[in-house]
């Protein structure tokens, strides 16, 4: 059988034998499906949705936060701050050990180990290693402000109403 094939090969001048083409196709199929299944298994490791509050949530219209507001939203663990036209959403979770910091006009203070932060969340004292993170604030089309806790932004990047 192989003699006959070789003869055909020689006749047609084809450098690759039919057997090789088939072997190549077979291995492509098998390796291909192996790769696809590895990739899909890897993708599965990260869940697409987890239980818990959504990271993106609405907090109300800008009118509900008149200039000078500094209030903490307990459920969402975010402080909403408005100075004039500028607004920001700052985390109230202490960067030291995760206590909820108190919000005052002069800044933030942690009741657990005495960390202190200034009005923009920068560390001014105590054991906290990092400033309080700022979250992205945006205006949704229905006129409500939305905070996205999934997106940290650099401190001092205000949202203009």
């Amino acid at each position: 059988m192989s003699d006959k094939h070789n003869a055909q090969e020689v006749e047609s001048g084809e450098p690759v034998s039919r057997r090789k083409v088939l072997a190549w196709l077979t291995s492509m199929g098998l390796f291909g499906s192996a790769i696809v299944s590895i990739v899909s298994n890897l993708v599965f490791i990260k869940p697409r949705a987890t239980y818990g509050k959504p990271t993106r949530f609405a907090i109300g219209t800008p009118e509900q936060f008149p200039p000078g507001t500094r209030i903490a939203l307990g459920d969402q663990k975010v402080a909403v701050i408005r100075e004039g036209d500028k607004m920001a959403a700052i985390s109230v979770v202490c960067t030291h050990l995760g206590c909820i910091v108190g919000v005052a006009d002069t800044g933030f203070a942690c009741p657990c180990h005495g960390s202190r932060f200034d009005q923009d969340g920068n560390v001014t004292g105590g054991p906290a290693p990092k400033p309080l993170p700022w979250y992205e604030l945006s205006l949704a089309p229905n006129g409500e402000l939305e905070v996205d806790k999934g997106k940290e932004i650099e401190s001092g990047k205000w949202f203009t109403v």
């Binding site: 059988m1 039919r18 057997r19 088939l22 072997a23 196709l25 077979t26 291995s27 492509m28 199929g29 098998l30 291909g32 499906s33 696809v36 299944s37 990739v39 899909s40 993708v43 697409r48 949705a49 239980y51 818990g52 509050k53 959504p54 993106r56 949530f57 609405a58 992205e136 945006s138 205006l139 949704a140 089309p141 229905n142 006129g143 997106k151 949202f159 203009t160």
Partner: protein, 614 residues
Amino acid sequence: MKMRLSLAIASLAILVVHGFVFYQQFFHKWENYQQSYFDQAKTLAKNDAEKETFAGRSPKIEQIMVTQFGSERVDRCTTCHIASDDPRFLNSPHPYKTHPYSEALGDKQVDGRWERRHKFSDMGCTVCHDGQGRGLTEFYAHGEDEFWNDPLMGYVTQENWRADFKDKLKGKEFMEANCAQCHTEKNFKATPMVNKGRELFQSKNCYGCHRIEGISNGTLGPDLSDVGKKWKIDYLHESIVDPRANSATSFMPKFNLTNEEVKALTIFLKSRRGFNYAETTLDRYRATLKKPSSNSAMVQPTEGNQPTTLNTDTSANYGGQLFTERACAACHKLGELDGGIAPDLSFEGLMKDEQWLVAHFKNPRSLVPDSNMPSFGFPDTEFKALSAYLLTQNKVPPTGNGQEIYQNLCLRCHGEKGDGHGMIATYLDPYPRDFTNAGFMSSKTDERLTASIKNGVPGTSMPSWAKVLNEQQIKDVLTYINQNFTKETRTDIKQRDVPEQNPVAMSPESVTRGESIYLQRCTGCHGRKADGKGPNSLDILPRPRNLLNAEFVTRTNDRRLFESILYGVQGTAMPPWIDYGLSKDDVGDLVNYIRNLNKNKQNLVAANAYVSSH
């Protein structure tokens, strides 16, 4: 060579299958919807900052977690319906379309911008719409899957629902059933269909048989307090329009309801889910403290059948008022009113007396054991008033020749063709006699037939006509029945050797012997409990006699019982047992056994003895 080729083909096929699965699992329609929404929103954006927020977003599963309505809800509806709260998409096609704003829902317009009364972030979606909140494909999310109990209310009908009323279960008014989960007030104006259904529940006398916590106390039918939680609207609808579709032995009547009324009742029943979302667990706990006897979740006063102040009026006038208020005409006929389900009460005063009526009101089954009239829980004074009212219905109806009498008085039960299939026959047990059954009719003497008309048949719905018809009229109607329905010339009835009195004395031994014969010979039709509902009974018409019918058994003499057992009942499935080897002594034992079954009810029958004296 062939082996290599097939191996190559097989491995490529595996690759294709893997690729297909990969595509199915990791590329979703909702990603396209979201991407398309972001693109559209970017072009609609008024300034760069807005554009930037949309540019920064990539498709991901959006979900709303709601814990305040019963168990935790995870609603991912906004994953596809991502623009549902974006007012710029009001006129877009689904799934981009903005959820409509409506003043009926309590939405308000402030400075030209709508504000929602029910915020999606607080309420989620499924609490109003139903459907499967976790679903990410249309099929599952909308509850089209037949195993999902709550398909999208009023919009989605499942594949296996009955085709003949599928289209009647559509419409957004069905969603009112979900509004009523929180808005449980009796006349909440945004849920007109629920309110209408609640009124119908009273006015169609559903309350008589069914219990709904806080509304009614019926015991004859299933408790409907949480029927909306257990069943889908197709089942509720079917149970109203065709009660025997699911349970062949159901004796719930088919009420005369318009499509609109059925819809209102379906919506009302769907709203009965056994809980009230407006209450907190604390409210519910307080409610149980107030009423220690019931662990109710509904803090509503019982409506309808339990008046707060007891009216001691027992006059016929008040009875007439009650007759209307309590919706008796939902089943019965009285004058012009006709429910088409239960007997005519237009001349009840000529057939029954007060004692019978009151006893029957208190427990219909003490006098007619297989009656499907519910035992209403009204106070005794109301029963007296109703009885007084019925006793005033004593005008002799127009009579005439045999045919006219039959048409006026007999037709409702015995039917136009005299075959026992009258308008209300299906709701009577035992069934009305079939006059076309010549075998039965010819084997009974004129005296016996006359007596049945004159005195009625105890324990059944056949009343005594003695005060309505005179001897001649009874004769006329019998002649009419014989000529038009039985159509057989009556021959002399063979006299049989049957004892007048049971020759076997009543004794425990005799009863035991009778029981063992009964269990061997009779249970197939008459049933182990002797209630006439044996395994063969559904195939037999007329149905086997209910031997626990004390009214009937006690008033039937030994002679008739002997004759029926020994020589059978012609025209029915009761065979002549003398041919199957039963002796007179055996029959005597059987008669003792049957009488013994009804022994404890004899006092009751004695109390009603006046009936037979009529």
